[in-house]
């Protein structure tokens, strides 16, 4: 037998071709109007959002490919759609009830719901999925802990199509946690077929394959490059999406993304550069939805364990020295919502983040610094991550200049992101800017996540026993009035102690073709293709 060169090449290719490339079906020539093309600066790196290192783009994709038991409703704010975490609707669960004591959640699955392979969704599948989120080594475990979901014993099949979740304490966010990107519902029969002894939860297989039943099926996926989705025509767990086909493509160069959107070759992008957005808006070929990221915040953090920032007076002095309005304009061109310049002494509501009562007052800053015994100032470094340079660099320059006026010498330090994260996690940064987002923007959750415990997200390494106590109490508080009081007290303590300075919530600028409608700002800060339509 002789092998020709061509046969050899074919053989090699067959060996080398990934299973995904082979599985992709030849796309039907569908009209451009029914296809949505999203372009992103980052890239989808896994089809399983619970994999460590999953990118935000992967979370976005998984929302469209997998269903969760429940989902957040959306509401109109200033003419834009924004998610509403206070109203929860069923997704894969048709309805759900919470017992009066808040200790039991009963979920009734939607009759007739099927997985992508056509098999019916069962309560056993749901139980297996929930077990995976508390049992496998994945990002879901620590997220589910914030909803007091920690053990497979808490999930019980209570009849055909009925699943019960029991809690030890009435956790405020137990149900909300079932709506986050990690809480995917998995076709357990399919996943188990691809599990191995080393990998009982099929985590390896699910990185490049899906076992879901969501509104879209993955037609082809190349990690770091692009994903093509086809609408799941059998989908019953929500309103049938408009677009039959969705292409999500990584285009790293921001200027190229702007060109593509303006030429109409791509339909939507949410990560263009501020400068390009202003130009595109003025030329009028595109539509821009600018929506404040209501569950996020940009901040300046002090290391409250490191002198001189362990002294609240020093922190307050710096807070009184900064030119907030100039920083807001220089850094964001004013595209966002201010979290400074509040005019209150006691918080008006339990909502958070809110504008904090800080403003520039150099005389006060000098007085506070003198009170701290540092009338002559001191030297420090101010750090930020390279990926945020476009907004953080102007901010850092203004901080340096303003603090120079009260005698504090600031050296600016721009660090690669991985290095910044490491230093942050090791609590070695003295003074820096970064930002945070809470998927579940309940006030106590912000405080629990960002102001308690010895962990990376405690940006200021702040230890305040009263905050820890309040955050813990608020989490299980059933009386709304008591909960409000606890939240207000936490906000007051934060305003007084200033472990970090809240600056602003940057806008999400979704730039899209004029005919695209329905864009919704989602808590995971990605595009939900199911919301969109072409007029």
């Amino acid at each position: 037998m002789t092998v020709t060169r061509r046969q050899g090449l074919m053989g090699l290719a067959a060996l080398g071709a990934s299973p995904i490339a082979l599985a992709s079906t030849p796309a039907l020539a569908q009209s451009r109007a029914e296809t949505l093309r999203q372009i992103t600066g980052g890239a989808i790196n896994t089809l399983d959002p619970t994999m460590p290192g999953a990118t935000r783009e992967s979370f976005g994709l998984s929302m469209n490919v997998y269903d969760r038991l429940v989902a957040f409703e959306r509401k109109q704010v200033d003419g834009h759609w924004v998610f509403d975490h206070t109203r929860i609707r069923g997704e894969l669960a048709e309805r759900f009830e919470t017992s009066p004591d808040g200790l039991k959640i009963t979920l009734h699955l939607r009759p007739g719901a099927t997985w992508h392979d056509g098999t019916p969704v069962t309560a056993e599948d749901v139980k297996w999925s929930l077990d995976r989120h508390v049992g496998a080594r994945s990002l879901a475990v620590s997220q589910f802990q914030t909803g007091s979901l920690t053990s497979p014993d808490q999930f019980r099949v209570a009849g055909p199509g009925v699943v019960e979740v029991t809690l030890e304490k009435p956790d405020r966010l137990a149900l909300s946690n079932l709506a986050v990107p990690y809480a995917i519902m998995i076709n357990s029969a399919l996943a188990k077929r691809n599990a191995t002894a080393d990998d009982p939860w099929a985590q390896k297989w699910m990185q490049t394959n899906t076992a879901g039943g969501g509104a879209y099926k993955v037609e082809s996926f190349r990690p770091g490059v692009q994903a093509v989705l086809a609408r799941n025509e059998e989908w019953k767990n929500g309103t049938m999406p408009f677009f039959r086909r969705v292409i999500s493509q990584s285009v790293p160069e921001a200027a190229t993304r702007a060109n593509l959107i303006e030429k109409g070759d791509a339909d939507i992008a949410i990560d263009l550069q501020a400068g390009d957005i202003a130009t595109l808006e003025s030329r009028g070929q595109v539509k821009v939805a600018s929506i404040p990221q209501s569950n996020g915040f940009t901040h300046i953090s002090f290391n409250t364990r490191m002198p001189p920032f362990d002294n609240p007076k020093v922190r307050q002095a710096i807070a009184a020295a900064l030119p907030y309005d100039d920083m807001f304009r220089a850094s964001l061109f004013g595209r966002g919502r201010k979290l400074y310049g509040g005019e209150w002494t006691t918080p008006a509501s339990a909502d958070f983040p809110v504008p904090m009562p800080v403003k520039q007052d150099l005389a006060r800053a000098r007085a506070l610094l003198a009170e701290a015994g540092m009338a002559n100032g001191f030297s420090t470094t101010f750090s930020f991550g390279a990926s945020t340079a476009s907004t953080a660099e102007p901010l850092a320059a203004l901080v340096q200049e303003a603090l120079g006026r009260i005698g504090i010498k600031v050296e600016i330090q721009k660090l690669p992101d991985a290095q910044l994260n490491t230093l942050q996690s090791e609590k070695k940064l003295a003074f820096y800017t970064d930002s945070g987002t809470a998927w579940l923007p309940a006030t106590y959750y912000f405080f629990y996540l960002y102001f308690t415990r010895d962990q990376r997200w405690n940006f200021a390494s702040w230890e305040n026993p009263r905050i820890a106590e309040l955050a813990d109490a608020a989490r299980f508080e059933r009386d709304p009035a008591a909960y409000d009081a606890q939240c207000k007290e936490m906000i007051s303590i934060l305003a007084d102690q200033m472990p970090l300075l809240m600056l602003w919530q940057p806008n999400m600028d979704a730039v899209m073709g004029k005919a695209i409608e329905g864009f919704t700002y989602q808590f995971y800060r990605q595009v939900d293709f199911r919301d969109l339509r072409r007029a």
Binding site: R6, L9, M10, A13, G16, A17, S18, P26, A27, R32, T35, R37, I39, A43, N45, T46, M51, P52, G53, R137, L139, S142, Q143, Q145, T146, Q207, T208, S220, R222, P223, G224, V225, Q226, I247, Q249, S250, V251, P252, E253, A255, T256, N259, L260, K263, D265, P416, D417, A418, Q419, N421, T422, L423, S425, W439, L449, R453, D454, Q455, R456, W457
Partner: protein, 343 residues
């Protein structure tokens, strides 16, 4: 037959001699990656509520909790078994990633080198024939421009003119029209694959996607090739055998193309080899600007995330390619100038 055997011996000897160099590069990359500040475990455990436990767990999974010499030994053991590790950025084995992405980079680099050579050789010859003339100055100007403009500026400029303003070029993202179906996957080189399947419409589409990035890269490497051609042609044209050939009344084109060029092409070949290897790694900006799914942008992304395995895999790949390219150049020397093969 003897020539073949000697060539074989030379190839074998070369490959053996390259092993210590490649090993050195491997160890060096390995150590540098670990010395760099930035802990991949922290970076990748970056979920909204990932704590120290997740970080430690990930570190153990990646083997980073062991001492560096032990890690290095494991690394060599894995490489010997053909396992380059797993990328955290893409979630795939590095070998799979590289296999999917290398053809894209190679296709782009080969096309760019071809365009550059096709442009540089005539330009260099023309400049050498009339040194100091207007043609010579024009060539010098072109080369200077090509070198001075960073590739991403050239790339963005070409996109702006040919895509945004004129609309002649397809949208500058990736290797094929995004709305078209999946291309055939035979060799990974789209131009070859489309030709093999006889899909000439697809071939044209892939070629038009390739044109702008390839031209961008070609412009950048035009200068070394054209200048080297000019310099070595000048030297050869001043030689006595050329004067003799002219005196014998041989036709001008024959003198230049056969006698002069063949002698002048050796240094050009050397430079082309170096240019090729450099392009493959240095075209990261072009790959970024044109969303080209190649190996260089892959390595850069990994480097930014302190993702060790892909960076190490990339460096290993580059070292290997460098060795192979140098070998090929050496063999080509023998073809161009039999004296070089004799040793």
């Amino acid at each position: 037959m003897r020539a073949l055997a000697s060539a074989g011996r030379r190839v074998g000897g070369r490959l053996l001699a390259a092993i210590p160099a490649v090993l050195g590069v491997l160890v060096l990359t390995f150590l540098v990656m670990r010395v760099l500040p930035g802990d991949p475990a922290v970076y990748f455990a970056g979920g909204p509520s990932a704590g120290q436990a997740q970080i430690d767990q990930l570190r153990a999974e990646m083997g980073l909790d062991k001492p560096v010499p032990v890690q290095l030994m494991y690394y060599f053991r894995d490489i010997a078994g053909g396992d380059l590790g797993r990328s955290l950025t893409t979630g795939q084995p590095v070998l799979t990633d590289i296999r999917q992405r290398l053809p894209a980079s190679l296709e782009l680099t080969f096309s760019a080198l071809l365009i550059a050579l096709v442009a540089a050789l005539p330009l260099g010859i023309l400049a050498a024939l009339r040194p100091g003339s207007a043609v010579d100055h024009l060539v010098r100007f072109l080369c200077t421009m090509g070198v001075c403009m960073p590739t991403f500026v050239t790339g963005l400029l070409l996109i702006y003119v040919f895509y945004y303003l004129l609309g002649w070029s397809p949208d500058p993202t990736g290797r094929i029209d995004i709305f078209a179906g999946t291309p055939p996957d035979i060799t990974g080189f789209l131009l070859i694959d489309f030709a093999l399947t006889g899909d000439w419409a697809g071939w044209r589409a892939a070629a038009s996607q390739l044109l702008l990035p390839a031209v961008t890269m070609a412009l950048f490497v035009l200068a070394p090739l054209a200048r080297m051609t000019r310099a070595s042609m000048l030297a050869v044209l001043g030689g006595e055998f050329i004067r003799t050939a002219r005196a014998m009344g041989l036709p001008g084109w024959r003198i230049i193309l056969v006698y002069a060029l063949r002698n002048a092409v050796l240094p050009v070949l050397t430079i082309a080899g170096i240019v090729f290897s450099t392009m493959l790694g240095a075209n990261v900006l072009v790959e970024k600007v044109f969303s080209w799914p190649g190996v260089a942008s892959y390595a850069l992304d990994a480097l930014q995330a302190s993702d060790y395995a892909p960076v190490q895999g990339f460096v290993l790949l580059m070292a290997t390619i460098f060795v192979v390219v140098n070998l090929v150049i050496d063999l080509l020397y023998g073809l161009a100038d039999p004296r070089a093969g004799a040793e």
